[in-house]
C-alpha cells in the first residue's frame, strides 16, 4: 500500500538528529512496549508480514507523529483485537473482562534466551531456478497494491541490474494477508541514483533494494 511508512525520498522531515549518549529506552514504557510486542509475537498467531502491514495501516498523521514504539503498540492493539485475544472494552478498562482466544504458545521467562537466539528464519527450500541472473537488466513493476508490499514507491518502474540472487524467501505480499507463504527468489537489484532521482542528483549514488521475483520484469 502507498502508506505513510513508505518514506524514501519524502522531503520536509528536516535533518537527521543523532542523540549524544542515546539511552536504550526513553522511559520505562518503551521497555514494556518492546517486551510485550515480542512476547505477543511469540503467540504464533500472526506473521511478521501481517504485523508490518498493521503498522503501515496506522493513519498517516498518527504514523508520522508517533515514535516507533508507539507505532508498535498501536499496531499490536489492532492485531490482538483482530485475533480475538483482547477486546476494545478490555483495553479501555485496563483489565480482563472475560476469556478470549488461546495462543499456541505463551512466552515464559526461561524460554526467552532460546527464542531470541533462534529468531524466525524466512527462507524456504528452493523450488525451481531463478528467472533472472546476476548482471541482467530488469525493470521493477509499477504496482500500487492496496495490500502489503515491500517494493517501495521510489523504486517502482525503474531499471536496474541484478547484483545477487539472495535466496528463496516467504513472499510478504501474500503472507501478510493469510494467503500462504508462497516463497519466491529474492534478488538484490541496484539502480543508478539518476535513474531514481533524475537529473541533478548525486552522480556517485547507487541504491539497491531486495526484490522478490514477482516485483521484476525483464527489460
Amino acid at each position: 500500500m502507498n502508506g505513510p511508512h513508505d518514506l524514501g525520498g519524502q522531503m520536509g522531515h528536516g535533518p537527521v538528529r543523532p542523540e549524544t549518549d542515546e539511552p536504550y529506552f526513553h522511559g520505562d514504557w518503551e521497555k514494556r512496549a518492546l517486551g510485550v510486542t515480542l512476547a505477543c509475537g511469540a503467540f504464533g498467531a500472526w506473521t511478521i508480514d501481517e504485523s508490518r502491514h498493521a503498522r503501515e495501516n496506522i493513519a498517516p498523521a498518527a504514523y508520522l507523529s508517533a515514535s516507533y514504539y508507539e507505532i508498535w503498540i498501536r499496531a499490536l492493539e489492532v492485531l490482538l483485537k483482530r485475533h480475538r485475544f483482547v477486546t476494545e472494552a478490555e483495553l479501555a478498562a485496563g483489565h480482563s473482562l472475560g476469556p478470549g482466544a488461546t495462543p499456541r504458545r505463551v512466552l515464559e521467562a526461561a524460554m526467552v534466551p532460546s527464542v531470541l537466539a533462534k529468531g524466525g528464519p524466512c527462507d524456504r527450500p528452493a523450488e525451481g531456478a531463478p528467472v533472472f541472473v546476476v548482471g541482467q537488466r530488469v525493470r521493477t513493476r509499477n504496482i500500487h497494491t492496496l495490500g502489503h508490499t515491500r517494493l517501495p514507491r521510489y523504486a517502482r518502474a525503474k531499471t536496474g541490474v541484478i547484483e545477487a540472487v539472495q535466496g528463496f524467501f516467504v513472499y510478504p505480499d501474500d503472507n501478510a494477508h493469510g494467503r500462504g507463504e508462497n516463497p519466491q527468489w529474492v534478488y538484490t537489484v541496484v539502480f543508478d541514483g539518476r535513474e531514481i532521482w533524475g537529473e541533478g542528483s548525486d552522480p556517485t549514488l547507487t541504491v539497491s533494494i531486495d526484490a522478490w521475483e514477482s516485483y521484476l520484469e525483464p527489460v
Binding site: A39, L80, I209
Partner: protein, 212 residues
C-alpha cells in the same frame, strides 16, 4: 525496570501521573497478564537481553576480527550469517546477514525506508533516528546530506552505495580499518568500531582516538 505494574490501582487510566503511552502500555500489559497471555518476567528478560547482552559490541567484534583475520573476512563476505554465528551472534533480526565492505572507492550506508529493519543480532536495538522519518526519507536520496547531519564528509568522488533493507536480509557495514593500527589485537581494534560506522552513518575512530 519492572515496577509495581501488577499492583497499581488502574481505575484511573488517564491519571495525569502517566503520559498517554505509559497508560496505554500499562493497560495492555495488565490485560494480557490477567489473561495469562504474557509472563511479565519474560518481558523483563527480553529487556535485560537487549540492555546487557545484544548490542553494537557484538558487531564491533565481528568487524575487528574481519580486519585482523583475512580468512574470516573472506568468510564474512561469502556467508556472513555463518561467519557471524561462529562468534555466537545469531537469532532475531539477524537470521539472514550480509556484510558490505567499505573501500577506498565506495562507502556503504544501510537504511530501511519501509519500517525499521536493522541487524539486531550484531547491533542491538536500532537508535531512534534510524526508525524516524527524516533518516528513512533522506538516506536513499541524499546520503551525503545524511552524513553531513552526522558531521561526516566523504571525498566528492567517492561512490556512495545505499542498501535499502526491503526484504529479510540484514546488512552490516564493515568500515575501513584506520591507518596506524597494524599489529593491534582484535580487542583493541574493536574499540575503534562505533555503532554508526557499522550502519554507514559514521567512520571508524582513528587510532589516536582510543587510549593506547
Amino acid at each position: 525496570m519492572h515496577s509495581d505494574h501488577d499492583h497499581h490501582d488502574h481505575d484511573h487510566d488517564h491519571d495525569n501521573h502517566y503520559s498517554d503511552m505509559q497508560a496505554r502500555v500499562l493497560a495492555l500489559e495488565t490485560v494480557l497478564t490477567e489473561k495469562g497471555l504474557i509472563d511479565p518476567l519474560a518481558l523483563d528478560a527480553i529487556v535485560e537481553t537487549y540492555e546487557t547482552k545484544i548490542g553494537p559490541r557484538n558487531g564491533a567484534r565481528v568487524v575487528a576480527k574481519a580486519w585482523a583475520d583475512g580468512a574470516f573476512s573472506e568468510w564474512l563476505a561469502i556467508d556472513a550469517t555463518s561467519a557471524i554465528a561462529s562468534l555466537g551472534y545469531t537469532g532475531r533480526q539477524g537470521e539472514h546477514m550480509r556484510a558490505v565492505f567499505n573501500t577506498n572507492e565506495t562507502h556503504n550506508l544501510v537504511v530501511c525506508t519501509l519500517c525499521s529493519c536493522y541487524p539486531w543480532s550484531v547491533l542491538g536495538l536500532p537508535p531512534v533516528w534510524y526508525k524516524a522519518p527524516a533518516y528513512r526519507a533522506k538516506a536513499v536520496m541524499d546520503p551525503r546530506g545524511v552524513l553531513s547531519d552526522f558531521g561526516v564528509a566523504l571525498p566528492q568522488d567517492k561512490k556512495v552505495r545505499v542498501w535499502d533493507s526491503t526484504a529479510e536480509l540484514r546488512y552490516l557495514v564493515v568500515p575501513q580499518r584506520p591507518e596506524g593500527t597494524e599489529g593491534w589485537s582484535e580487542e583493541r581494534l574493536a574499540e575503534l568500531v562505533t555503532r554508526d560506522s557499522m550502519i554507514g552513518t559514521g567512520l571508524a575512530r582513528s587510532a589516536g582516538e582510543v587510549a593506547a
